[in-house]
């Protein structure tokens, strides 16, 4: 299996390509819930097998508003879950828009372009080229490149599979511009990932801090995740413990997390009917140190 090049590695099987560098800590991070506040209604409608539209209405103290999102998936099918090109767009009433475009050339090269417009100005733009080879992934990203002011960020990433269980990688971030002290700054960082049958451990360390994550699949429906993040620039560190439980027959998913900032957060999702596509989501968050809590309820249609 390791000898033949696979262009579309299914995410849960070990295949010869180690995946993208940004996805190293993804497995543990997916366990943790995203807590929201207030009421939220999301209507997702597929207009065809390639085009999907979503309307999000949120009522909360932080942001009350409406967002419209559209997704277009193209015809080039690389695997059971992946098809290209992909266009993702998101706008809200004030005109703030984000757009993402993904495509592959051949089977090895992937391109991703992201842009964000806020208040009629381009707030950020980013382009990534990635080559997914048989055993390695090499990515090059240019972010916020401003030709007029000569500033920008260049990121080069390399992730290589050394044995069936061990992946090693390195990343180099180069930022140049007038605001940067000294005109330019380079930050290297290194990472390693070990995948066993039931658990995965990943570590990233560099000058800006240490980031560790651990993911454990206890049974088919129960998963645990632990993440440790530290930032030496602001001298802060945080550890998060989380778990995810699913009951697929009922369509129930429960995710919860506890972290060292004395915050507990839980999100419970339940499918309201077997025939109708209604999902109820309730989220609760409590910060013991500040005695502050947030409650959210959401309805997802479609």
């Amino acid at each position: 299996m390791a000898e033949t090049p696979q262009s579309s590695p299914p995410p849960s099987q070990p295949s010869s390509n180690p995946g993208s560098y940004d996805e190293l800590h993804r497995k543990a991070r997916d366990i943790f819930p995203t807590c929201f506040e207030g009421a939220k209604v999301i209507v997702q409608k597929g207009l065809s097998s390639h085009f999907q539209v979503s309307h999000t209405l949120s009522l909360s103290p932080m942001n009350t508003g409406y967002k419209f999102g559209a997704t277009y998936v193209g015809h080039k099918q690389l695997g059971p879950q992946e098809a290209f090109p992909i266009f993702l767009g998101d706008t809200d009433v004030a005109g703030n828009t984000t757009g993402t475009f993904l495509h592959t050339f051949g089977e090895k090269w992937r391109v991703r372009l992201q842009g964000q417009v806020q208040q009629a100005k381009l707030a950020g733009a980013q382009g990534t080229i990635e080559r997914r080879g048989t055993f390695s992934t090499f990515g090059l990203t240019l972010a916020n490149t401003d030709l007029v002011n000569e500033s920008g960020i260049v990121v080069a990433q390399l992730l290589r599979r050394f044995t069936k269980r061990v992946d090693l990688g390195a990343e180099l971030v180069y930022q140049y511009g007038r605001q940067v002290p000294g005109g330019q700054i380079t930050v290297p960082s290194y990472s390693a990932r070990y995948s066993a049958d039931f658990w995965t451990a990943a570590a990233t360390f560099g000058m800006s801090g240490l980031h560790l994550s651990y993911h454990h699949r206890q049974t088919e429906n129960i998963q645990f995740g632990v993440e440790f993040e530290s930032n030496l620039n602001v001298q802060e560190a945080m550890t998060t413990f989380g778990y995810q439980v699913e009951m697929p027959e009922e369509g129930v998913t429960m995710r919860a997390s506890v972290d060292t900032n004395w915050t507990v957060c839980g999100v419970f999702e339940k499918r309201l009917s077997q025939q109708l596509p209604f999902t109820l989501a309730i989220s609760g968050m409590l910060n013991h140190a500040k005695s502050a809590g947030k409650f959210g309820i959401g309805l997802i249609i479609g």
């Binding site: 439980v245 027959e249 009922e250 129930v252 429960m254 507990v264 839980g266 419970f268 309730i282």
Partner: protein, 110 residues
């Protein structure tokens, strides 16, 4: 307030409360014992009040955290288990005990 020279105050003018007289009795014990008893009583008072404060906060934190972290899943699991036993009981009533065993086996095979 001017310092009072307690040695030369005549006995009739000394006014002591009951507790002060009781405290005065402690002078008959050697000083290490006085310090030991005082230290023990202070530590007991401190540990009782801190223990109470700790228990209060621990119970509150444990209760609210379990409410957020575990309660929805536990309620849902109880409800679904109850529903499954009810369905199995109904099948047993309708079709006999063999059907209930078969129904319990068949979801595991899928």
């Amino acid at each position: 307030m001017s310092a009072i020279d307690w040695e030369h105050v005549p006995d009739e003018e000394l006014e002591e409360t009951l507790w002060e007289r009781f405290e005065g009795l402690s002078e008959m014990f050697p000083s290490f014992l006085q310090k030991f008893v005082t230290g023990t009583v202070d530590w007991t008072k401190w540990s009782a009040s801190t223990g109470f404060w700790l228990t209060r906060n621990a119970v509150w934190i444990a209760a609210t955290s379990s409410l957020i972290l575990f309660m929805p899943y536990i309620i849902e699991k109880e409800r679904s288990d109850l529903e499954k036993t009810q369905v199995a009981q109904q099948r047993q009533l309708l079709l006999g005990p063999a059907a209930a065993v078969q129904a319990a086996k068949s979801p595991q095979q899928h």
